[in-house]
């Protein structure tokens, strides 16, 4: 089965600034992929390219189409929330539902109404009258009512309180996700999504610096809390990152030999957020 998204030498330049520099990655159907990177790393450029919102160099296929050339066709099978608060302020909630139902063949009105029924929002309200969180809820309800094969979420829960955020991610996994769908998500709140991701992609300065499944992290990386007397021996094993907290030193290793590392202290699999910090901080601190 061909990959859902396939990028080869994907490059995006803004004048002399290179936002994406010959990035290569593949995303398979049925995965929940976190695209994680610091500000300005090229996350948004990658998403924009995948969604057909921007021209690019290199080869990019999404659902078998070229996104920039075939955006309208692609949007029959893909949907996205790019950033927050982009619903038009003048539209009424019921108008928005009518419009999307009118132009989108895969929109399920009953589902949108069901999702909105769980909120305080009524159809006669205009978007401009709603709070930031409510706007996001309307947008999410519209988007999640589309039977899309690819859902792209760019900071989807910005502006939502912690209850709504938790509720959103629960709904995403329990009600929305199934093996025919794929979700690509970027967020700064890595801790919040790391339990639901199946794959992670780290991006830094336009390059993909890590692309693997969450299970693979356990075999590819190890973190060792090293006791003081073993520190020099452990450093000889060439950790790629070292962090000191609360009097303890944690060393991060790539392609670890766990039996060897166990001599230095407690070995564990780093969390996605710790690994992100480790990979992107670079070097020993």
């Amino acid at each position: 089965m061909p990959a859902l998204i396939e990028a080869r030498d994907l490059t995006k330049k803004y004048g002399s600034f290179v936002a994406l520099d010959r990035a290569n990655f593949t995303i398979q159907t049925g995965r929940i992929v976190g695209l994680i990177g610091p500000n300005g790393a090229g996350k948004t450029s990658a998403l924009r390219a995948i969604l057909g919102l921007t021209a690019y160099e290199g080869r990019l296929q999404v659902l078998g189409r070229e996104p920039f050339r075939d955006r309208a066709l692609l949007m029959n099978d893909a949907c996205f929330i790019a950033d927050v608060a982009v619903m038009p302020s003048w539209i009424r909630v019921d108008q928005a539902i009518d419009f999307v139902a009118g132009v989108h063949p895969r929109f399920r009105r009953d589902r949108a109404l069901g999702l909105l029924a769980k909120t305080q929002i009524t159809g006669s309200r205009r978007i401009r009258e709603l709070s930031k969180g409510m706007k996001t809820q309307v947008h999410l309800a519209l988007t999640m009512a589309i039977d899309a094969r690819l859902l792209v979420l760019d900071e989807p829960t910005l502006g939502l309180d912690i209850l709504a955020r938790r509720g959103f991610y629960d709904a995403l996994v329990d009600d929305y996700m199934d093996e025919s769908r794929t979700i690509l998500i970027t967020t700064h709140q890595v801790e919040e999504v790391e339990n639901l991701l199946t794959d992670v992609m780290f991006i830094d300065k336009g390059h993909i610096v890590l692309d693997c499944s969450v299970e693979e992290i356990a075999t590819r990386y190890a973190a060792v809390t090293v006791t003081a007397d073993h520190i020099d021996a452990a450093r000889a094993e060439k950790p790629f990152y070292e962090r000191r907290t609360l009097g303890k030193t944690v060393l991060y290793f790539e392609q670890p030999r766990s039996e060897a590392l166990a001599r230095f202290g407690e070995v564990h699999t780093p969390s996605v957020s710790d690994l992100f910090v480790a990979k992107l901080s670079g070097g020993v601190q």
Binding site: A55, A72, L73, I91, T143
Partner: protein
């Protein structure tokens, strides 16, 4: 409903002024007819009656047409700019609607739909006012407004003007859309600056005035293209009111010059330039999602 129907409906939701403004003008004119005071002239001959009817009835149409032109200009400048400014363009682009459909639907609204709305508003207003004047004023003046042939001619005039202005002003409308799709700010300024720069540049460098003439002909040359404006006596009649003489078209019908309009190279050069600019606006819409 298909996508275009939804896109047009969407424009009515967003720009309520499309129907609110002509409705307000209509109501104001009707109120004026109801409560206004004026000296009513005395009409004695059938020709006088016909001429006054023609002038009064078309005057309302002209009022609506002037307001419509101003509004449509504003609409075109905002239509691809406003949603980039408030970033809702990302919402619209998340739907399976091509940028071509978006641009063409807005062009269609500006050149055909808005004029049709004003046409209906002008017709209803004129009808109400004719009725009110018939009741309030003298039978002769009232009668002047009820010439069946005049009414028919007015309808045809409106439709003719809608079609021919849509064609003639296509390059102007498309230029406004290019600016609307491109500018980061100050759309008005950007609309005027490039043509002005071209005009001044041509004058300084070559000492010629082709740009000025082309712009002048496009902006002010519609009437001579679409109507008989020559001094040919068969089109004009002179009517005497006491001491005054008024020269008016012998009929609205005779004034229209569709053959001249559609056979003029000016018309088709404009269409070609307009089509190129529309294509440019579509390309800009594809590429510029943000301010």
């Amino acid at each position: 409903m298909n996508t275009y129907a939804w896109l047009i409906k969407r424009e009515f939701w967003e720009n309520r002024a499309i129907w609110v403004v002509p409705s307000v003008i209509g109501v104001l004119l009707v109120l004026l007819a109801l409560f206004g005071r004026g000296q009513f002239i005395t009409l004695t001959t059938p020709q006088q009656s016909h001429v006054v009817g023609q002038m009064v009835l078309s005057a309302f149409g002209v009022t609506f047409f002037v307001v419509m032109s101003i509004y449509s200009t504003w609409y075109l400048l905002d239509c691809l700019y406003g949603d980039r400014k408030d970033r809702s363009v990302l919402f619209w682009k998340s739907l399976p609607i091509s940028d071509t459909a978006t641009v063409l639907s807005k062009l269609l609204v500006a050149l055909i739909v808005i004029p049709l709305v004003y046409f209906v508003a002008a017709d209803v207003t004129t009808l109400l006012i004719a009725f009110i004047v018939s009741v309030r004023a003298s039978a002769a003046l009232g009668g002047a407004l009820w010439h069946a042939d005049l009414w028919l001619q007015l309808q045809i005039l409106w439709l003719y003007v809608i079609i021919t202005t849509a064609i003639w002003f296509l390059p102007v409308a498309a230029w406004l859309m290019v600016i609307s799709a491109w500018a980061k700010r100050a759309v008005m300024l950007w609309t005027v600056l490039p043509p002005l720069a071209l005009y001044l540049g041509e004058r300084w460098i070559f000492g010629t005035r082709y740009v000025a003439v082309a712009l002048h002909d496009r902006l002010l040359g519609y009437a001579p293209q679409a109507f008989h404006t020559g001094a040919d006596s068969s089109f004009w009649i002179t009517t005497t009111f006491d001491k005054d003489q008024i020269i008016t078209p012998s009929s609205i019908w005779a004034l229209l010059d569709p053959a001249g309009f559609f056979s003029s190279p000016q018309t088709w050069i404009g269409v070609a330039v307009g089509a190129a600019l529309v294509a440019g606006a579509i390309q800009l819409r594809l590429r510029r999602t943000e301010i």
